[in-house]
């Protein structure tokens, strides 16, 4: 059975691939996908910690605090995706592009 380290490294790989994409992609929608990947890696890490480092019953009021954090991250990610894509569509209506380097109205 794979141990804690394997799950943590899987989370780190997902997070770093997401960071690489977020730093190099030009399409805003793909940027948002990379953000979801990063949040996903964090969730894997949290759930792995929850399973392998769980405190004995009675110490913590809830044995699944780590999974609870992951649930809240998913909720916030859903709100973030909805708002982000709404902004993308609003920008597209004005500028007719979704490439980040062409959305440069605020460039000095």
């Amino acid at each position: 059975m794979p141990g804690l380290n394997q799950f943590l490294i899987l989370g780190a790989v997902l997070f770093c691939v997401g960071i690489y994409g977020a730093l190099t992609k030009r399409n805003v929608i793909v940027l948002l996908m990379c953000l979801e990947l990063m949040l996903n890696g964090i969730n894997v890490t949290l759930v792995g910690f929850n399973r392998f480092l769980a405190p004995p019953v009675g110490v913590s009021s809830s044995p699944f605090a780590g999974q609870m954090f992951a649930l809240f991250i998913i909720a916030v990610a859903a709100a973030e995706a909805a708002l982000g894509l709404a902004i993308v569509i609003a920008v597209y209506r004005v500028r007719h592009t979704v490439q980040v380097d062409e959305i440069d109205l605020l460039r000095g």
Partner: protein, 165 residues
């Protein structure tokens, strides 16, 4: 026997999650990026099952694959591109990005491998729905209410921003 199956399942789904993640970054068409995102998120759901987080696996499928990816497909559909631009940044930025990602990854792996984790006596394997539901209405009731407020504000904001006028 179950150990062998769990190990095989872990490697299968870990590799497919990483392949999906790399596909999100490497595929050239936005639609293919979204399909690779489905692969990555679905494999993560399977990883949650292996971590005996059954409720979270279902939530992952419902919210991520069912809602967020569909939302992204709609956004791709609503923003047609006349010309397919190369979707990657210039070479210098790619190099810097990979440098940052690799450095961060090395740092993380170093911390993970050397970390003095206080492992529990045995992994926590028990049904989660009961305790998660109890937790949401007792210990975590304030963050729970706050999350519903965030979702409500997000929904209203999305409608306002994307409205046609």
């Amino acid at each position: 026997m179950t150990d062998v199956i769990a190990t095989i399942a872990f490697w299968v789904f870990a590799i497919s999650a990483v392949v999906g993640a790399l596909g999100v970054v490497a595929a050239r068409r936005v639609f293919h990026n979204a399909l690779f995102l489905v692969v990555a998120l679905g494999s993560t759901a399977a990883i949650y099952v292996l971590l005996s987080a059954d409720f979270l696996a279902a939530v992952q499928i419902l919210v991520y694959v069912g809602a967020i990816v569909i939302l992204m497909l709609f956004a791709i559909m609503l923003t047609p591109q006349a010309v397919e631009l190369p979707s990657f940044a210039p070479g210098g930025q790619q190099f810097a990005g990979s440098l940052v990602a690799l450095a961060l990854f090395g740092l993380m792996v170093g911390a993970i491998v050397t970390g003095p984790w206080a492992l529990a006596a045995r992994p926590l394997d028990q049904p989660t729905s009961y305790d998660l539901g109890r937790g949401l209405l007792t210990t975590f009731v304030f963050p729970f209410e706050l999350a519903s407020l965030v979702l409500l504000v997000g929904m209203i904001g999305a409608i306002l921003l994307a409205r046609e006028d």
